[in-house]
């Protein structure tokens, strides 16, 4: 291909980002190359069972919120470098369009043999859905003066400010747009991150990214919560996501009142990257570890109880003889009538990212809370936790507050469209 041909191809490909609804690469449509077609068919048969799980991108609520935490997740925070509102809308349309294709899966077209391929190919010629979800959310900074959105900011959205024991790195905090990309395998997630960033390079600049994983299901029951880097089970007392009444009360944005109408069916997403000082933790006696958490490390049962999901019965223990009054589970969820509305829907992935400058493992928790009102829920809980004994062993280093709006309603809609309507 001559230099001119190459440029004209790039121009076509680059135009995709602004093309609006038809912006996709036509994934799932018939491929052209004959050799790869049979390979594609074979690949489809081999991975069918393990990777076939498919989560709809379109609907009422975005996928990846009530969905049980997938094995792997990457968060990609992006800053808008768009010059204007139309450009931003185009970029968001493109993100939705690409996300829809990737979550659906299929073969991708090979257009010109000399040109850079339309897909990185890291998943082979057929992209299996693998339970992929792409959850799109907006940070408070998107609602500044740049795009005329200031008046439409969700009522409870602010920038995440530091709590007393935080050590926030501004370069790993905040962002205009957040993508939570989760799937059953690490390569599916990594592929999606790369393919979602590619068509919007001129509009959305990556600000920070973090990747995490949940531990394998090691029982004893299929519902047992997975463990974090401290060896304790994480997420035991989550509210029931199958009960729409509970979700309407705790997760989905309030209707009316101070909330702008476009926020309907959306939710606030809190992300915190919490460094865990595991070498230090490993020098703590088991008794003290369990006292700090309020649970047994092996079973996850509340202290003095037998099963993970047993009620810790703080009411029977008002002086903290069984579970210390400053134990993590007691402060996080006191289970009193006054704190019922403070509960959050919690998701967590463990991260590992090498060593810190002092040669210590840089590992921690990618903590996510979905809630109806950040101040009423997440912040209220966090303020109780400010001085918990466990705080010596963790350092929150980044994250942000975001608003994840309703899902795209149909394949020609896009996430965030009501904000611009």
């Amino acid at each position: 291909m001559s230099e001119i041909d190459r440029r004209s191809f790039l121009k076509r490909a680059g135009g995709v980002g602004l093309g609006g609804i038809a912006a996709g690469y036509g994934l799932g449509a018939a491929t052209t190359a004959n050799a790869s077609e049979s390979e594609a068919e074979m690949a489809g048969r081999v991975n069918a069972a393990e990777l076939a799980d498919r989560r709809d991108f379109d609907g009422v609520h975005q996928a990846g919120i009530l969905t049980p935490a997938a094995s792997f997740a990457t968060f990609l925070a992006l800053d808008s470098i768009c010059g204007g509102r139309a450009e931003l809308m185009g970029a968001l349309q493109t993100i939705s369009s690409r996300a829809r294709e990737l979550t659906r899966g299929g073969a991708f077209p090979v257009e010109e043999y000399d040109a850079p391929p339309a897909d990185s190919g890291t998943l082979g010629p057929v992209i299996a859905p693998d339970g992929l979800t792409v959850t799109i959310a907006f940070g408070a900074s998107l609602f500044d003066g740049r795009y005329g959105l200031a008046a439409r900011k969700p009522a409870h959205l602010t920038a995440m400010s530091a709590f007393p024991h935080d050590d926030l790195d501004p370069a790993r905090t905040g962002g205009d747009v957040l993508l939570q990309i989760a799937a059953g395998h690490q390569d599916t997630v990594a592929h999606a991150v790369r393919e979602l960033a590619r068509p919007v390079r001129a509009e959305l600049a990556p600000r920070w990214t973090m990747a995490g994983a949940v531990g394998a299901q090691r029982g004893p029951s299929p519902h047992s919560s997975r463990r974090n880097h401290f060896g304790f089970r994480d997420g035991t007392s989550d509210p029931d996501v199958t009960d729409p009444k509970v979700m309407d009360r705790l997760v989905w944005a309030e209707r009316g009142g101070a909330e702008p109408a476009w926020t309907a069916d959306g939710t606030y997403q809190v992300v915190r990257t919490i460094r865990m000082h595991v070498e230090f933790w490993d020098r703590v006696g088991l008794h003290e570890q369990e006292e700090m958490i309020g649970r047994k490390r092996d079973t996850g049962a509340p202290l003095g109880g037998t099963g993970e999901f047993e009620n810790p019965r703080f009411d029977l223990d008002p002086r903290g003889e069984r579970i210390a009054l400053d134990a993590h589970i007691r402060l996080a969820n006191p289970r009193e009538p006054a704190t019922i509305d403070q509960r959050i829907l919690r998701r967590a992935w463990n991260y590992s990212q090498g060593l810190d400058p002092a040669g210590q493992l840089d590992v921690g928790l990618l903590f996510v809370a979905f809630n109806q009102n950040i101040q009423r829920q997440f912040t209220a809980i966090q303020e109780r936790l400010n001085n918990e004994p466990m705080i010596d062993y963790v350092t929150p280093e980044g994250g942000g507050y975001f608003f994840a709006p309703a899902a795209a309603r149909h394949p020609s809609d896009w996430v965030g469209s009501p904000l611009f309507a």
Binding site: D167, L286, G304, D317, R322, I323, A358, G359
Partner: protein, 339 residues
Amino acid sequence: MVAIAIAAATLAALLAGCGSSSPEPVARSIRTIGAHPDITVEEVTGGHLSVQQEAAIAMERTKNPGPGGDLQPLHAEDFVKPVAEYRRYSEREAKAVQRHVESLQGDIAAGDVGAAKRDWLDAYDHYLRLGAAYGALGTLDEQIDGNSGRLPDGVHDPDFTGLHRIEMGLWTGEPTAGLRSPAAYLARRVAHLQVAVRRIAISPLTYATRAHEILEDAQRDMLSGVDAPWSGAGLRATVDSLAATEFVVRTLKPLLNGRGSTVEPVENELARFRAVVDSVRREHGGAWPALGALTQCQRERVDGSLGALLQRLDDVPGALEVKRTKPYPTIAEQRRERQ
């Protein structure tokens, strides 16, 4: 350049060695199991006990403490003398902080950045040597030694003040005129330090825990470069924390003697870490190098020997308990109690 590298490598090999320069293991380590510092078992590697055998011994000791098993709890009065000694020590350190901060204020007023940096480092040294107290100083500690990361607007936050505000200014070439007001504020806060140190309530548990945790904080916040990012004084600061730890352990030694085999391994590791940091200092011509100036080999020796020391210091609070760990009631028992 090559000659320097070779000399450094030779010294390193003499003391501890790094990477391929030291194929031989330094020493066979002895391991303590769980909360029973009196049980030491030779490392399985090269030893004669399997992991299962070690675990079985530890379990047996847990079930039947007996003579030589679990330790009798100490009395709170046993800690009166060590804490009083520590209090006198920390008052001396507080006074030194005040003296250096006054000089710092003068240097800044005179626009002498070189002298200001020296006095800043001295003030910081003595503040960190308070060690055992700083967790108990609360707001005063934040005003003197607070970092920007906990503040909403970071280094631009109006509440970012104290030692690290001045550190930022001195090491980033800010005009000294802008540092006069932070220096005056710091001097006013530091003036309260001596009285605050004298009044701190220190429980036996807190004091024993400090023997371990002063250096845990140093590893987390200082050797990582988080606490003094502009001056790069993380190694020097860690050595101050070592000095504080050495003092606390010295005061606790009479209590530790005869309580399992805690003292000797702790003293050995303290001495080893001291020797490592001293050799690193010599390799840098006798001055404390900034964190960024350490070679990978030096960093690994410092990190590794501190890690080994921390694993030993961890035994100190356990050996000095003033009460037995009480079993907590079960939910069923509390339910019955209610009825």
